[in-house]
Subunit: 182 residues, 2 copies
């Protein structure tokens, strides 16, 4: 089971690919799609579109997960975030990939153990869980954390702990969620 996690943003769209096999999580890839800054919005969004389409084609994930609606500070920033998120969702829809939306809070709770975890706590736990040599940059770490959260939710679902509907609310208590690094 290969999962693509996406943390969409107009300046930086993080992605993380994780394999889940027999309860083990294996890191496959992570990175950040950064559109050029000196082009118009349409070209920037097309850049994100092309990047994500290429990732899906290259890594052939079985499922995907994306951060669910974040209540932005204001309508303007929500619209800008929405644009990048819309492109990511459209790519996932076009490639017929199952999509689960997970809130940032749920991701943090699953990975660090608390919904109020800091960015650096998420980075450190992602590094530890995936046995990475170094801490991934924040946007990519968030995307990996989303994939990890979904991998675990999927595992629980396959064990019958929770019915496997999209948009399920993961409530993880497995071994890696309890290793809170504070």
């Amino acid at each position: 089971m290969r999962i693509l996690g996406i943390d969409p943003g107009s300046n930086a769209t993080g992605y993380g690919v994780v394999d889940q096999s027999g309860g083990k999580l294996i890191h496959v890839a992570h990175g950040i799609i950064r559109p050029p800054k000196d082009v118009g919005t349409a070209d920037r969004l097309a850049f994100i579109h092309r990047g994500l389409t290429q990732l899906v084609s290259e890594f052939a994930p079985d499922a995907s997960a994306i951060e669910s609606i974040f209540v932005a500070a204001n309508a303007r920033s929500a619209l800008v975030l929405g644009q990048a998120r819309g492109v990511a969702l459209a790519v996932l829809g076009l490639t017929a990939l199952p999509v689960t939306e997970i809130s940032a809070r749920e991701v943090k709770k699953a990975v660090v153990g608390t919904g109020s975890a800091t960015k650096s706590q998420v980075q450190a736990m992602v590094k530890r869980l995936l046995e990475l040599e170094k801490v991934p940059p924040t946007d990519a770490a968030d995307a990996l954390a989303i994939a990890i959260c979904q991998a675990h939710a999927g595992k629980l679902a396959s064990l019958g702990v929770r019915s496997g509907r999209s948009r399920r609310r993961p409530n993880l208590s497995g071994n890696f969620t309890l290793r809170n690094r504070t």
Copy 2:
């Protein structure tokens, strides 16, 4: 010069195609892309993506125009609107179509003569300007109005009235902008 106008929305994305030839506006097509309601967000956005891609392929416009950022009532609706708008912009970027963003106020001013025009005033003026047999539905009328506004701005630019940069602010005083239907 053929212009595609888009009024993006997650439930209804209006489009309008207008030819501008020697100062004359000719209606080509208009309609509304309505994604099915019983599918997830990714599938809905993919539906809009496919629909717009097909329109660009079918009508081969020379340029496009889209409503610029609308300050929504709240962050949640801005995010939902942003998602549809992001998909539309990505399609325009992917097809390398020039994009001009025009505010709703500018469109109303150009088409009806006042920035505070009502939906039905826009519909009536679009019908009149394009010599349509009946009033187009609101989302399609808005998209046609955006295309008309851009067609006129483009004409002024080509006459040297205004330098032809994207995101220019149309300030129209041509014959059709003065025929206010109140």
